[in-house]
């Protein structure tokens, strides 16, 4: 009889199941739920991209590609990065096409983190960084971001957490779940702190196309002298509504990318071939479809921010991604209680903020990757819920 408890390593056992998973299990039990809790676009992948994939399949192009990705795609990515973040990356040695931004994050952390290294992770943020750091034997160190700073990372908060063991800082902006964006001046303050150190920066920019209020995305890599320490992570999932295609990319200084490529070669070999061909079309000819999606998101964003503030739930105006992060402290409930009661009483699902880090306690994440119709119905039910609990 095999004793699995003995076999499975502690470091694997000790990874906490995500709070999102827990909430998902609850949501599944309730019938007729109006969900506001997805993390992926409601738009379908642009038709031109899907047609290209069909064409590629018909032609039978199903073999592995070059490890680092199709040359044409890497070239398109290089052009894209020059265009959007004004930074040059050599397609032959500084860009890798990965299985989603997720694999890029994994490869980057594994290429950088030794046992005992500290990695600074702003919170609330996406759930994958800390577990990967732990798996590398590293120590994830949360840095709390606050409502009064519009959930931006401040230089002060960063300075407090830097120690001689700090290997890297994760910069997940535009942010999931808060929708926070670091504008140039905020990034410059961070650069000031890191100048002269050996601290690397993992810049997760997967929501870079979703920015509003004239806050065009600025990458940490484009700041003077910061390119040499930055790995830029981005992809096709959110911008081009290609979540299920599993395609992303990493770009960074040659010596690091060389190591990441080694890992990628052993673990993945190459990213999905059909997705890569389709992504070339996406990048070269579907940029205005992206603009249209972003305009649509922007309108929904305003609708939600106003809706929540009108109901008495303080909701700061996010400048990026497709989430709003209203505060539910005024109800006297915890995030988990609020979300559970909302789903049982009014069949509306929003994600408890603390699923993204303890500093998310007291908030909920509401996604606006849904039609206006869907959003107004859900807002109505949340309004009713708030009135009910007052009684």
């Amino acid at each position: 009889m095999i004793d699995y408890e003995k076999i499975i390593p502690d470091k694997v056992k000790n990874i906490q199941p995500s709070g999102i998973r827990k909430f998902f299990d609850i949501a599944q039990q309730v019938e007729g739920v109006i969900s506001l809790s997805v993390g992926e676009p409601d738009f379908k992948t642009p038709w031109a991209v899907r047609k290209e994939a069909i064409r590629i399949l018909e032609k039978g192009k199903t073999a592995y590609t070059a490890n680092s990705g199709l040359a044409e795609l890497r070239s398109a990515i290089s052009d894209y990065l020059r265009d959007t973040i004004h930074t040059e990356y050599d397609p032959n040695s500084e860009i890798i096409v990965t299985v989603g931004g997720s694999e890029a994050i994994d490869m980057a952390l594994r290429a950088l983190v030794s046992a005992g290294d500290e990695v600074l992770v702003p919170e609330p943020s996406f759930v994958c960084y800390s577990p990967i750091v732990s798996m590398c034997g590293g120590i994830p160190v949360p840095i709390v971001t606050k409502r009064e700073d519009n959930f931006r990372l401040t230089a002060e908060a960063l300075k407090e957490k830097i120690t001689p063991k700090t290997k890297a800082l994760v910069l997940p902006f535009p942010n999931n779940p808060t929708g926070a964006v670091m504008r140039r001046e905020h990034l410059e303050a961070i650069a000031e702190v890191l100048k002269g150190t050996d601290i690397m920066v993992l810049s997760d920019e997967i929501y870079s196309e979703m920015t509003y209020n004239g806050a065009k995305h600025v990458s940490f890599a484009e700041l003077p002298d910061m390119r040499e320490r930055t790995i830029v992570i981005n992809g096709f999932s959110k911008s081009f509504a290609m979540t299920g295609w599993r395609l992303g990319f990493a770009a960074g200084p040659r010596p690091v990318m060389k190591q990441m490529l080694k890992l990628h070669q052993y673990c993945i070999m190459s990213s999905p071939t059909v997705s890569q061909y389709a992504a070339i079309v996406a990048m070269r000819s579907c940029r205005d479809e992206v603009d249209k999606m972003v305009e649509e998101y922007d309108m929904r964003r305003r609708l939600l921010v106003k809706g929540f503030n009108d109901m008495g739930l303080d909701c700061f105006e996010p400048e990026g991604a497709f989430y709003v992060f209203p505060c539910i402290k005024s109800t006297g409930m915890t995030s988990a209680e609020f979300c559970e009661r909302l789903i049982y009483d009014k069949k509306v699902a929003v994600v408890p903020g603390n699923a993204f880090g303890e500093s998310g306690e007291g908030f909920v994440r509401v996604s606006y990757a849904y039609s206006v119709q869907h959003l107004t119905t859900a807002l109505g039910r949340i309004r009713e819920f708030l009135e009910d609990i007052k009684k």
Binding site: S18, E40, M299, V305, K306, V351
Partner: protein, 164 residues
């Protein structure tokens, strides 16, 4: 309201004319008062001509039928197509009247409670009009998409209820 915003307003109303002024204002980054004023202006100028519901008619009344009729016309001296178009328009059964380029001249849609009623209307009222040379009647058998609304497609959201 600047042109860009006004166009977005029209777009939103095209998709859903029942959005409240408050909702429209929020989405456009404007105020309720400005939206109300702009809508009134558009109505007064005849740009916003009306608001109507898109109904899946066949689910309400199975026998109800719509036909698209192409009409070849001999335009009357000095009058062109307008007179005939106006005459046809007067009938309640007629939903649309368009003047088209190409093989036929006028395109008319007619709705009736049964196939026979529509056929009767065409033969007794339309074909007999002065200036009508010929008509070609096409009955709508199945609707796939109308005014950007898709009929009877499976529109369930396939995404996982909750995702990170």
């Amino acid at each position: 309201m600047e042109d860009n915003t006004m166009n977005k307003l029209l777009d939103l109303l095209r998709q859903n004319a029942r959005l409240s002024n408050a909702e429209l204002a929020a989405m456009l980054g404007s105020t309720e008062a400005e939206v109300a004023a702009q809508i009134k202006q558009l109505e007064d100028d005849g740009i916003l001509m009306g608001y109507t519901a898109i109904i899946n008619e066949e689910t309400v009344d199975e026998t109800r039928v719509t036909a698209i009729i192409d009409i070849k016309v001999a335009p009357m001296k000095g009058k062109g197509f307008d007179d005939l178009a106006h005459t046809i328009m007067e009938y309640d059964e007629v939903d649309t009247v368009f003047l088209l380029s190409g093989a036929h001249d006028l395109s008319v849609t007619v709705t009736g409670t049964s196939l026979r009623k529509v056929a009767q209307f065409v033969s007794e009222r339309l074909s007999t009009l002065d200036g009508v040379i010929s008509t070609a009647t096409h009955f709508i058998l199945k609707r796939y998409k109308e005014k950007n609304h898709v009929f009877s497609e499976d529109t369930t959201d396939e995404r996982s209820l909750v995702s990170p």
